[in-house]
């Protein structure tokens, strides 16, 4: 069974009291197997962010089915979706989305608070995750005291601390210079080689080059699903 399966998923946004309808996704079907490393490419407006929100259980499709790990997500309640986000999915965002007033370790342990893990255990898990991303010495730093690359690594630590099956990275290198981008992508590749399914949304071909499978989107449909379509190994 695939980890992710989309069947003819449509997403329609209506604005202006329903008079204007925007088809963000018009019939997307795809499968992602457990352990894959996939990038989703497209220009802005191609529907890739909408797809990301649906994959991340932050949004529901207008029609069609989304099956994640055997659960038909489109039929779940918002509490159940929150549980799935908490346990099954780890998020990495373009703008890091760390809480500024909390230090690194508190940011990382946040998913475990909502999972009901005891304080001592979750602090241990959070420090372990921070060590994994090479920030063992920066646990008490606040986001404002860290560089962009370091902040994104904290975000990765937060994404993996609850040992999710799936990591979703939305333009994870969008706000970083090329050296830091490289570090982050290497880190995601490492996670993937450890068995986690990783999906990266990007518009940069260099980023997509890291992943063996690339899905290209335009106008709400997948126009290309290629294994190493851009020429295999990154430089």
């Amino acid at each position: 069974m695939s980890l992710i399966e989309l069947r003819d998923v449509h997403k329609v946004y209506s604005t202006g009291r329903g008079s204007v309808r925007i088809n963000a996704l018009s019939g997307v079907s795809l499968k992602v197997e457990e352990g894959e490393f996939v990038s989703i490419m497209g220009h802005s407006g191609s529907g890739k962010s909408t797809l990301m929100n649906i994959l991340g259980c932050l949004d529901r499709p207008t029609s069609g089915e989304y099956v994640l790990d055997g659960h038909v997500v489109s039929r779940l309640y918002s509490d159940q979706l929150a549980d799935i986000r908490n346990r099954t999915i780890g998020f990495v965002f373009q703008s890091f989305n760390l809480l500024q007033r909390l230090d690194a370790v508190s940011n990382v342990e946040m998913p475990l608070i909502y999972a009901g893990v005891a304080p001592r255990e979750r602090r241990e898990a959070a420090s372990r995750a921070l060590k994994m991303v090479g920030l063992g010495g920066r646990m008490r730093h606040r986001p404002s005291e860290l560089s962009g690359g370091e902040q994104q690594r904290v975000a990765i630590a937060r994404a993996l601390v609850s040992r999710p099956r799936l990591v979703l990275a939305d333009e994870p290198t969008g706000n970083l210079d090329s050296a830091a981008s490289c570090e982050i992508m290497e880190m995601l590749r490492e996670l993937n080689s450890g068995g986690m399914t990783v999906i990266v949304v990007t518009h940069e071909p260099e980023v997509a080059a890291y992943t063996p499978r690339v899905l290209k989107f335009r106008d709400g449909v997948c126009i290309e699903d290629g294994l190493a379509a851009l020429g295999g190994e990154p430089a």
Binding site: D59, N86, N97, I113, Y114
Partner: protein, 390 residues
């Protein structure tokens, strides 16, 4: 999610902007301290009146004339009739007359009270030295007198008054006793009067059989109402005229005093309630601002798995923590404030545990009530919108 984490989250949110949190709590602080102070003043006043009235003697009914003395029907004749009533323990007459008491070169304007021997017991008076008037004094209309504590010291200064002769206007009396100081009863203090046999008063000073007031002591607390009815019926029978006498009940006076302080407490509590309301609206306002400021935080929390009710709990908890810390501060200020009231205005105050509990629960209720709407708004937020928010 653990309850302890809820508290920790709320504290974290508040300590993020401590000065703002403090300002927000001020309304509740003022409201709660106002509640505590007003209730303490009310309780203090009530207790003081109660002890003052109790000090005048217990289970008392007072009879006085409804007409001016020339037409008064309250005379010696009434006394034995009232004494006959089943629920009455004893009665004592009282005839007041003002005049000048003098000893040597010291003269003071005072009141002479003509009364009987059981005045001591009925009006709860204690003797400092010597004895009170006896039944023999009454029967024989003797020239003996008993001085109030203050009158004795002012007339005699260092001298021992017992056995000395004191003049009241033109009449001379021999001092047989000095009453103990009764203190300020808030009504009429008897520390500045002299007691003489009422028979002497009637024969030598007033020249008639009128009695100013009759103090009636009921047999017990429970028989006050029965005694009152019996005395009323007796007086009606004896005088044949319900306008000829006035009856007042100690319990009535107590009730009246209590109702006055109750009204005052209610009024001041109303003001306190308004400031609590204003404080609550202040909390709601700040919580709404806080929710708007933290849309992104809420988005992040939801994305990583916070459920709606967990966000709701976080913000309600924050509002409640704000309000309750304001309430605790208010309780502290309330204690301090009632001390100050006692010190500065010399009003008796008593901080009631009930009012402390009331203040605390009011602040909790205000926080939960006024925090509910902002928290509901936060919980219903769309995570995608929150994450996109700048």
């Amino acid at each position: 999610m653990r309850p302890s984490d809820n508290v920790r989250l709320a504290m974290g949110g508040l300590l993020g902007s401590p000065f703002r949190s403090f300002l927000t709590t001020l309304g509740v602080t003022i409201g709660v301290s106002a509640v505590i102070i007003t209730v303490s003043i009310g309780t203090g006043a009530k207790r003081q009146t109660e002890t003052q009235i109790q000090r005048l003697g217990s289970n008392l009914i007072t009879v006085s004339s409804g007409y001016r003395s020339a037409y008064s029907k309250i005379t010696n004749r009434i006394l034995p009739a009232i004494e006959q009533c089943g629920s009455v323990r004893q009665v004592t007459p009282q005839i007041n007359r003002s005049g000048t008491a003098s000893y040597g070169s010291n003269g003071l304007s005072t009141t002479a009270i003509g009364t009987s021997a059981n005045y001591l017991e009925v009006r709860n008076l204690k003797m400092a030295r010597g004895v009170f008037l006896s039944d023999a004094d009454i029967d024989a209309s003797t020239w003996n007198c008993v001085l109030g504590a203050d009158l004795a010291t002012e007339l005699f200064e260092e001298e021992d008054p017992l056995g000395k002769r004191v003049r009241f206007d033109r009449v001379r009396f021999t001092v047989v006793g000095v009453a103990a100081s009764q203190g300020d009863t808030g009504f009429s203090s008897v520390d500045n009067v002299m007691f003489i046999p009422y028979t002497t008063m009637q024969k030598r000073l007033t020249g008639n059989k009128n009695i100013s007031t009759i103090s009636v002591q009921a047999a017990s607390d429970k028989e006050m109402d029965t005694a009152y009815d019996q005395v009323y019926a007796t007086l009606l029978l004896e005088t044949g005229d319900e306008r000829a006498f006035r009856l007042s009940n100690q319990a009535d006076v107590l009730d009246f005093a209590a109702s006055m302080t109750d009204t005052m407490t209610l009024l001041l509590s109303g003001i306190a309630a308004v400031s609590l309301l204003v404080g609550g609206i202040g909390i709601m306002n700040i919580m709404l601002v806080s929710v708007t400021e933290r849309i992104r935080e809420i988005g992040i929390r939801k994305a990583i798995g916070a459920k709606e009710r967990q966000i709701l709990a976080q913000f309600v908890m924050e509002a409640a923590t704000l309000s309750v810390s304001g309430g605790l501060l208010g309780i502290a200020f309330g204690f301090l404030g009632s001390r100050i009231v006692t010190r500065v205005f010399n009003w008796p105050t008593a901080v009631d545990t009930k009012s402390v509990v009331l203040g605390f629960s009011l602040s909790l209720a205000v926080g939960v009530f006024f925090g509910a709407y902002p928290a509901y708004k936060a919980a219903g937020l769309d995570p995608i919108e929150g994450l996109r928010h700048e």
